[in-house]
């Protein structure tokens, strides 16, 4: 079970400023929990962002990306009301997709 992302897409001219926050532990596989047990590697490997269904960013990540990761990008040729969709997949195969509508600034 994953928690929803927070996606904010704001129009500045014809550029959508997209700010995505994901809830994910991004475990490096080196950390020990309170009991001293090593927490297994668990991180988002891929993030795909689409604009009105067309892919605009395809990201590949390592475990070096921080916990509860943020991804900011800018998309040219955007209009208010268009859709931004984000999908992540982690190394355990868990996936999540969320969407937002581009808002005027």
């Amino acid at each position: 079970m994953s928690d929803p992302m927070r996606i904010r897409a704001t129009l500045q001219g014809d550029v959508a400023d997209v700010r995505i926050i994901m809830m994910h532990p991004m475990e490096t596989g080196n950390r020990r929990d309170a009991k001293g047990t090593v927490v297994p590697l668990h991180f988002i490997q891929s993030v795909v962002v689409t604009h009105n269904g067309k892919p605009v960013m395809d990201a590949q990540w390592s475990q070096a990306v921080s916990r509860n990761p943020r991804l900011f990008l800018r998309v040219k040729g955007a209009k208010a009301g268009e859709r931004i969709s984000v999908t992540w997949v982690d190394n355990k195969g868990d996936k999540r997709t969320d969407e937002a509508v581009i808002a005027t600034s």
């Binding site: 079970m1 994953s2 550029v15 490096t28 490997q45 891929s46 795909v48 962002v49 689409t50 604009h51 269904g53 067309k54 892919p55 605009v56 960013m57 395809d58 990201a59 590949q60 990540w61 390592s62 475990q63 070096a64 990306v65 921080s66 916990r67 990761p69 943020r70 991804l71 900011f72 990008l73 800018r74 998309v75 040219k76 040729g77 955007a78 969709s85 999908t87 997949v89 195969g93 996936k95 999540r96 997709t97 969320d98 969407e99």
Partner: protein, 155 residues
Amino acid sequence: MKRARRSFLKFAGGVAALATAAAAGLLRTAESWAASWNKAGFESKVPADALKSLGATNAIESRDIVITAPDIAENSALVPVAVTSRIPNTQQISIVAEKNPFPLAATFDMANGAEGYVRTDLKMGQTSDIWAVVKADGKFYVARTEVKITVGGCG
């Protein structure tokens, strides 16, 4: 369960949309994600190997890449890094933390109007240069900046 199912359905829709771009050779299909994740690159222990995995061995230093990051980071697990590429037709940005155990941190492919800009946060093991490796029109460029990590002290 309900939530997971809904995600899956949405995801399936996304796959269809992605297929168009994949056909154009811009991005990988969703199905091939796990397979095409740059395993060799992400498991490289030295930056040179990471660059090799990207095909960026001959990357040229460029002043048209701006890395925005703190000179001194107060929390090594949260180091904000933004990369802006002013190189025309920027199609990919990778971020490398030179002295991390696995230096290649992330690769971002851009298409369909995405500007040459990306921002995220990294974990850094120690004070190190951060490299931004940019691919534009098939050629590779690189820029770097140092981030000092303060550790220790208690509380």
